[in-house]
């Protein structure tokens, strides 16, 4: 009897789940992308200050486009095919100009998995970024299906088709300068639109959202890169994640956190702390307003602490 009841309950639960999932599918997954004008000809699609999830469809990233006199330039294609299709509609809602060029800042999935929707145009990336996408892209894509679910449907890795070796390019009435840097992933493209003074920093700069470290060559390198960005004549910084910044505060915040991280991990290693103990170190109160700090700190200990331990033996 008990088993029959349990089975009946189980069936009921399954049917409910099925019904719920039918309803959820019926309400279509929509990214609701609304471009915001942040500088002359320059539009931003700002992502949420969150981690990848089935609620946000992995829309946690900033993408942007610049309407030049000879076509639209896109900065990063976004986390999924569905996102990038919505991205193209968003572009079409503010200009009749065709998209001509996409620039991928680095090989992380939220920045290039929308490439399929731009298969008809130039997709530029640093040569090393292309190599890293070829090596790791499919693993990233699989993981994104796990984290974001149905939002990813139909998304596949599409390689960039133009290796970026130039350090500058003029497209229509805009002049772009390219900086090939390394701090976040080993191949990070920062793009300065010299015409408007807008710096698209990619994930070399996070603002009000904790930085991520899975492929960083090291904190020293990242700090060196930030010095290079800080030395540029810039009117507005567009970080890879978080709000735009006209005062350079994002770079200061990055520096302060990276310096704290380096100091904390060094000290922990020389005190002989185990990884588990390091993960429980509270982050400084000055970083309390930065989204996901403690979560990303734990990830960073996974990524970087073994190197600090090695140095302390």
């Amino acid at each position: 009897m008990a088993i029959k009841q349990a089975a009946g309950r189980f069936l009921g639960v399954i049917c409910c789940l099925f019904w719920v999932s039918t309803v959820a599918t019926a309400s279509s997954l929509s990214y609701e992308l609304t471009p915001r004008l942040i500088a002359k000809d320059t539009w931003l699609l700002q992502g949420k200050l969150e981690d990848f999830s089935r609620d946000n469809g992995a829309n946690i990233v900033n993408t942007a486009f610049i309407v030049t006199s000879e076509g639209v330039v896109v900065i990063d294609s976004g986390p999924s095919k569905r996102y990038a299709q919505a991205f193209r509609s968003a572009i079409a809602s503010v200009t009749d100009q065709p998209v001509t060029d996409v620039f991928i800042t680095h090989h992380h999935p939220d920045h290039f998995l929308g490439n399929q929707a731009f298969s008809d145009v130039n997709i530029w990336a640093l040569p090393t970024t292309g190599r890293l996408i070829a090596e790791q892209g499919n693993v990233f894509a699989e993981n994104m299906y796990r984290l974001a679910g149905d939002w990813m449907r139909g998304t596949e890795v599409l390689m960039p088709n133009k290796p970026l070796e130039q350090t500058a390019m003029t497209i229509g009435d805009h002049r772009f300068r390219f900086l090939s840097l390394e701090g976040h992933t080993g191949a990070d493209l920062a793009i300065l639109d010299e015409t408007t003074g807008t710096l698209f920093a990619g994930d070399l700069v996070f603002y009000q959202r904790a930085l991520t470290t899975p492929h960083t060559p090291g904190i020293d390198q990242w700090l060196t890169d930030l010095d290079k960005l800080a030395a540029l004549e810039v009117a507005l910084i567009v970080p890879g994640h978080g709000p735009v910044d006209a005062k350079g505060k994002s770079i200061e915040q990055m520096r302060a956190y990276l310096v704290w991280l380096d100091k904390t991990l060094t000290q922990a290693a020389f005190e002989g702390l185990s990884m588990n103990e390091v993960m429980k170190i509270p982050t400084e109160p000055e970083f309390a307003d930065i989204a996901l700090t403690q979560y990303e700190f734990i990830r960073t200990v996974f990524h970087l602490y073994a190197g600090y331990e090695e140095a302390a033996f």
Binding site: A7, M275, I298, F302, F313
Partner: protein, 278 residues
């Protein structure tokens, strides 16, 4: 209209699942009848294999879930090949005969077991490989013959046990196999007693044998020995211990004396022996 066949499929699935759950319930009932003295405690981590693994690692001895057996893992396995795992039983104030540590849903569940000559088990931190999200357990055998069990759930995307070791892609390990680095640190313990922390790293691929064409190759035994060769700590290690293992031991002052100069001794499943003064 389109939902109809889907419901049929679900109905078909439900019948065998109900039957399976009946078989499982009977097995569990039988297991608990075998030992009427043991109070059946529900597994706080609600693992499908708790009874199977309890019987395998603890036998039919009595056991009890106990918060003093502290298993510390991160909330998620960011890197499934190097998950830090700290086990601390220092809050238990009685002699302890043996500690067994395992991950319920790993293809090779056992991670390590340890015994100590003076029956004081040190706090031990290692890293291990995880194949999927799983409860991670530690069980410690008291002198009275009862196992005290602690655990923690580890979230993971997984794949750590079937990923080739880094050593497989680089010849570095061939010329550095068994190289050991070690360092000791003074630590203050919660109780106010001081302890000596030993941290050791050894170069070893620790291949699980679960990657096609790469046979298992891992350190099986580890001992901390006194100058007279007597082991004060003996560990049995299994394949899930991470590549290039880092071990951290906190030896309480009761087991460490100033004139002691300990030696670390290890042997892998190919018979290679590695030794180093601590």
């Amino acid at each position: 209209m389109r939902t109809f066949p889907a419901i049929l499929v679900l109905l078909c699935l439900c019948v065998p699942m109900a039957a399976w759950s009946q078989v499982n319930n009977e097995l569990i009932t039988q297991a608990s009848h075998n030992d009427t003295e043991r109070a059946e405690q529900a597994d706080p981590l609600n693992s499908p294999v708790w009874h199977y693994l309890r019987a395998r690692f603890l036998g039919e001895s009595p056991y009890q879930f106990d918060d003093r057996v502290v298993v510390s893992v991160p909330p998620f396995a960011e890197d499934p090949t190097q998950v830090p795992l700290l086990v601390d039983v220092s809050a238990i104030d009685e002699p302890l005969l043996r500690l067994v540590v395992w991950a319920d849903l790993n293809p090779i569940q056992h991670i390590y077991s340890v015994e100590s000559a003076d029956r004081h088990l040190p706090r031990i931190a290692i890293r291990f490989k995880v194949q999927q999200a799983t409860p991670v357990r530690a069980a410690v055998l008291t002198e009275s013959g009862k196992w005290l069990v602690g655990g923690q759930y580890l979230e993971a995307a997984g794949g750590g046990c079937t990923a080739p070791s880094m050593a497989n892609a680089s010849p570095y390990w061939e010329s550095h196999l068994g190289e050991i680095e070690s360092r000791s640190f003074e630590r203050a313990m919660n109780s106010g007693r001081s302890s000596q922390r030993y941290k050791v790293k050894i170069i070893h691929p620790m291949d699980t044998g679960l990657v096609s064409g790469i046979p298992e190759f891992y350190i099986q035994q580890l001992e901390v020995r006194r100058p007279d060769q007597a082991a004060i700590l003996s560990m049995e290690l299994s394949q899930p211990v991470s590549e290039n293992p880092v071990f951290t031991f906190d030896m309480s002052s009761a087991s460490v004396t100033a004139q002691d100069r300990y030696k670390l001794w290890m042997r892998d499943n190919n018979g290679n022996v590695f030794e180093q003064a601590l």
